[in-house]
């Protein structure tokens, strides 16, 4: 979150205090004309000198803030009160009253405020009595809209109905529920109106149609200073400075209040990328191996959490590994870490990964970039948002080829069509020219797959590729992936929360819980006789409809900021013992290639 602009708040507060206290500050009379002493230079008694009529500039400047702020306050308050009232009336009465109020404010918004002011001045003459009602009218529509929208959204809610049934009158409902609800947006709109009022008032005074001279106003001072600017530029600069400072600080204050009301927590960026120690020697086998991966995230509070902790995986070419877990278990984060696509707030803080013996996590950005899409490709969950909406799909597949083609590669156009045909898109030549929104969800995911296989990668990471699709389409997509894998000998990491999909697709499975792998092994073994209570609970609930969280497991996944000291699953585990809650268990080998993070796995086996 941005810091609250205290200096702006301070300046606004100071201006208000000065505006209130100005008659008692012992200043010179802002109206006293001293002929013969025009443009006198600054002195102890007149710190900013005298103006073109010999009046004290400092005094006029500070009295000017009283004028500006009181006009701003008066018009913003009346606009606010009237607008909120009209908006609430429109929202509650509906029918013709509503139409008149809404359309009337719409029409009002069509008149530029300054021109409306000119009309009012023509008809009513110059002065406060024209200025304040007029500006109140100008600011009315925005308040009407806030109040109206709020009434509409609230009147339908149950508790308002309940209050009505309980016999609360309309007025009490209005005051009790609506007003507190709109206080925030109204406050923001109020400060916007106040700063706009100061701008408008000073602009009108500048051309002599606002507050009538000789009343001191900033706009009037700038207007008068204009004709003598050659002579006395400071006459012009002081009111310009005051005016700008006041408006900018009100605006800043307004932004600050808005941020406070609606905190959009900006993701924190890691100040320093963690430096990884040298990688251990590369394993001899081909395929993909991951060892001891930690991913660190900086929380908005400034703390550090490890959403991925000590994760090790391996997939041989032509094999499929399923990474399973509930949302928040760290499985997607693992996938992103492997491709270097972690968000700015996260970074790999430990571990090593190899693809055919080449280390991935210590590569420079340029090298990693050339590997992405060529050696490692990703397929994401939601094909609708993962395709660029303003590029034809052919162009998007072509980009994948273009980024990694060696010089002298064959023309890309036919290869794009070939790829589309390969993933089963009918009429590929025509479809290459389609926009993403013209395709169905299944077709879009086929396009994503075509993109992923375009450069014959060694590893594809598919992050819940079928979750966003219909059940029948899911089966087709899974079949397509399996088929592509069989013919191209690629390694596939399949991230999912769906156990039936795991059973169908994967050779090995790794179950993740709260950032750690709790069990990993061959799918047939693990599914037949799980050696971790969490896996067992997952499997037991697999019969329930897809997507629903595992049943029969009481409690929730712990937050990363409040992990249990011992086993992370212990608070929800039916088998926990005292030792489970004291020391974190290690991942132990229970059989060849079958590991469990449970101290009591033998009781399960």
């Amino acid at each position: 979150m941005r810091r609250f602009p205290w200096w702006a708040a301070g300046f606004v507060a100071l201006s208000i205090i000065v505006a209130i206290l100005v008659p008692w500050l012992g200043l010179h009379d802002p109206y006293t004309i001293a002929t013969g002493r025009q443009f006198e230079a600054p002195s102890w008694t007149h710190p900013l000198g005298r103006d073109e009529l010999g009046r004290d500039v400092l005094s006029r400047l500070l009295w000017g803030s009283r004028t500006s702020l009181s006009v701003a306050l008066a018009s913003a308050v009346s606009g606010c009160v009237l607008g909120v009232l009209l908006g609430m009336i429109g929202g509650f009465l509906r029918g013709p009253v509503e139409v008149v109020i809404l359309r009337g404010t719409d029409a009002l918004l069509c008149f530029p405020p300054l021109l409306l002011a000119l009309l009012a001045v023509t008809l009513l003459g110059v002065g406060y009595s024209t200025l304040i009602p007029l500006m109140a009218l100008v600011f009315l529509p925005s308040f009407v809209r806030i109040a109206y929208a709020s009434v509409l959204s609230i009147r339908s809610q149950d508790y308002v109905e309940a209050m009505r049934v309980l016999g609360a009158g309309r007025i009490r409902v209005l005051m009790g529920t609506i007003l507190p609800n709109i206080a925030g947006p109204v406050l923001v709109q109020f400060s916007l109106a106040a700063s706009a009022a100061i701008t408008l008032e000073s602009g009108l005074s500048f051309i002599g149609l606002g507050v009538a001279p000789p009343t001191p106003t900033w706009g009037g001072m700038i207007g008068a200073g204009r004709s003598v600017m050659q002579h006395a530029p400071l006459q012009l600069l002081w009111p310009c400075l005051m005016l700008t400072m006041t408006i900018v600080s009100i605006n800043m204050l307004c932004d600050g209040v808005r941020d406070m009301l609606d905190p959009q927590s900006l993701p924190m960026r890691l100040k320093r990328r963690p430096v990884l120690p040298p990688a251990p020697p590369a394993p001899a086998e081909r395929g993909f191996q991951l060892q001891g991966l930690d991913v660190a995230i900086v929380t908005p509070g400034g703390g550090r959490i490890l959403p991925v902790n000590d994760v090790s995986l391996a997939v041989a070419p032509g094999r499929t590994l399923a990474l399973v877990g509930e949302s928040g278990s760290g499985k997607s984060m693992t996938g992103l870490a492997l491709t270097g696509l972690l968000p700015a707030s996260a970074a790999v803080s430990a571990g090593a990964a190899w693809l055919d013996g080449e280390e991935l996590l210590r590569e420079g950005e340029k090298q990693a970039r050339s590997r992405r899409g060529r050696d490692i490709a990703m397929i994401f969950q939601d094909p609708a948002s993962s395709l660029n909406p303003v590029q034809r799909i052919g162009t998007q597949i072509e980009e994948m080829l273009r980024l990694h083609d060696a010089p002298g590669a064959p023309a890309r156009g036919p290869r794009v069509i070939e790829l589309l045909a390969r993933v089963g898109i009918p009429d590929p030549a025509r479809r290459a020219r389609a926009w993403p929104h013209e395709l169905s969800g299944g077709m879009r995911q086929r396009v994503m797959i075509a993109m992923a296989i375009a450069n014959r990668p060694k590893l594809i990471i598919a992050d819940e590729p079928t979750t966003a699709l219909d059940v029948t389409i899911q089966a087709q997509i899974l079949e397509l992936l399996a088929e592509l894998q069989r013919e191209s000998d690629l390694a596939l990491i399949f991230i999912t929360h769906s156990l039936p999909v795991v059973a169908e697709m994967a050779d090995t499975v790794a179950v993740m819980y709260a950032g750690q792998i709790v069990e990993t092994g061959a799918v047939a073994d693990v599914f037949a006789a799980p050696r971790h209570p969490y896996t067992r609970a997952l499997l037991a609930s697999a019969a329930s409809p897809e997507g629903s969280p595992p049943q029969g497991i009481p409690g929730q996944v712990p937050a990363f900021t409040a992990l249990p000291p011992g086993c992370r699953f212990a608070p929800r585990c039916g088998m926990r013992s005292a030792s489970c809650e004291e020391t974190p268990p290690a991942l132990v080998e229970t059989a060849a290639g079958w590991q469990s993070r449970c101290v009591r796995w033998k009781e399960l086996a």
């Binding site: 029409a107 000073s202 012009l236 005016l243 970039r369 060529r374 990703m378 303003v390």
Partner: protein, 314 residues
């Protein structure tokens, strides 16, 4: 259907605007003719007031006057100036193009400055450059346009004597002098506008860079520059274009002070003159035309959006 409904709604709005412009003179307490003729607090000559009442038709029944006003509008007539009897529509026809030219020049300036700087701020988000640009944007956004204009004259025209203080030369007469005189007011308006465009662009680019398809582009191995140019910008600029178009409409009424400061003889300075000489038909006519243009511009943006995005029509 959606199209017809949208057009009908705009026509309704124009009618309401016309009614408001008409109503302004009659809703005001006191006799408008008397107010128009009073100067410096002296009561005007009763016979002059009566003559003006007759000239403006204020002595006739209200309904008749209203019908006349609407009939005139339908024919494109807005009455005559009280000063020289010139038809208001002709006056507007002569002045409006100059204001439109000013707005267009200011918009071009704002886009040329605001969009690239906004993109830069987004790319360097959180950095020193971003914070500096944001600071400048806050100042120029807050600074009233007449302050910018006056300071520009003070520094550029008076102190440095690089440019003249203002004025107008028709393009046909002297193109280079015309453009020179256009630049100052256009930049004065454009600076505040550029600040708005900068903030909009920055927010839109940041928003786009967080979208899923940008992650897809990264997973393809595209460079940050390529992602920005080929994927983020086009998506980000669509909302920016909308805001710019709508803002242009709002600027129609925002050129008053700039035209005043730089002696630019556009529609707004005509209105200020009319206000000062209490030339009521010119004031009301101009106000109506500007509001109607604003409605038309809103309609155009809506229709354009409807054509681009079928979902809007639903």
């Amino acid at each position: 259907m959606w199209f017809a409904k949208r057009v009908a709604l705009s026509l309704l709005l124009v009618w309401m605007v016309a009614t408001m412009a008409f109503g302004a003179i009659h809703l005001v307490p006191g006799d408008p003719a008397e107010i128009m003729l009073s100067e410096g607090g002296f009561a005007p000559d009763p016979s002059a007031v009566a003559a003006l009442r007759e000239e403006l038709g204020l002595d006739r029944p209200l309904v008749e006057q209203y019908a006349d006003w609407l009939r005139g509008l339908a024919r494109g007539e807005l009455g005559h100036s009280l000063l020289d009897q010139e038809p208001v529509d002709e006056l507007i026809g002569r002045r409006l193009p100059r204001t439109l030219e000013l707005i267009l020049a200011a918009t071009v300036f704002a886009a040329l400055v605001g969009v690239p700087l906004g993109v830069l701020a987004a790319v360097r988000r959180g950095g020193l450059l971003d914070r500096t640009l944001n600071g400048f944007a806050a100042v120029f956004d807050g600074m009233p346009v007449f302050v910018i204009a006056t300071l520009m004259i003070l520094v550029l025209a008076r102190q440095l004597e690089w440019v003249s203080t203002g004025g107008y030369v028709p393009f046909a007469e002297n193109p280079s002098a015309h453009v020179k005189l256009l630049m100052m007011p256009a930049i004065a308006i454009g600076l505040g506008f550029a600040a708005v465009v900068l903030r909009m662009t920055r927010a839109a680019v940041l928003d786009t860079l967080n979208r899923d398809f940008v992650r897809t582009a990264r997973s393809k191995g595209a460079s940050p520059l390529r992602i920005l140019v080929h994927h983020a910008l086009r998506n980000a600029l669509m909302p920016v274009v909308t805001v710019v178009t709508l803002h242009m409409g709002a600027m129609l009424g925002g050129t008053v002070l700039t035209e005043f400061v730089f002696n630019w003889p556009g529609i707004s300075s005509m209105m200020v003159d009319a206000v000062n000489s209490r030339d009521y038909p010119v004031v009301v006519g101009t106000l109506f035309v500007i509001a109607a243009i604003f409605v038309a511009l809103n309609l155009a943006v809506d229709l354009l959006y409807g054509m681009i995005d079928p979902r809007v029509r639903a």
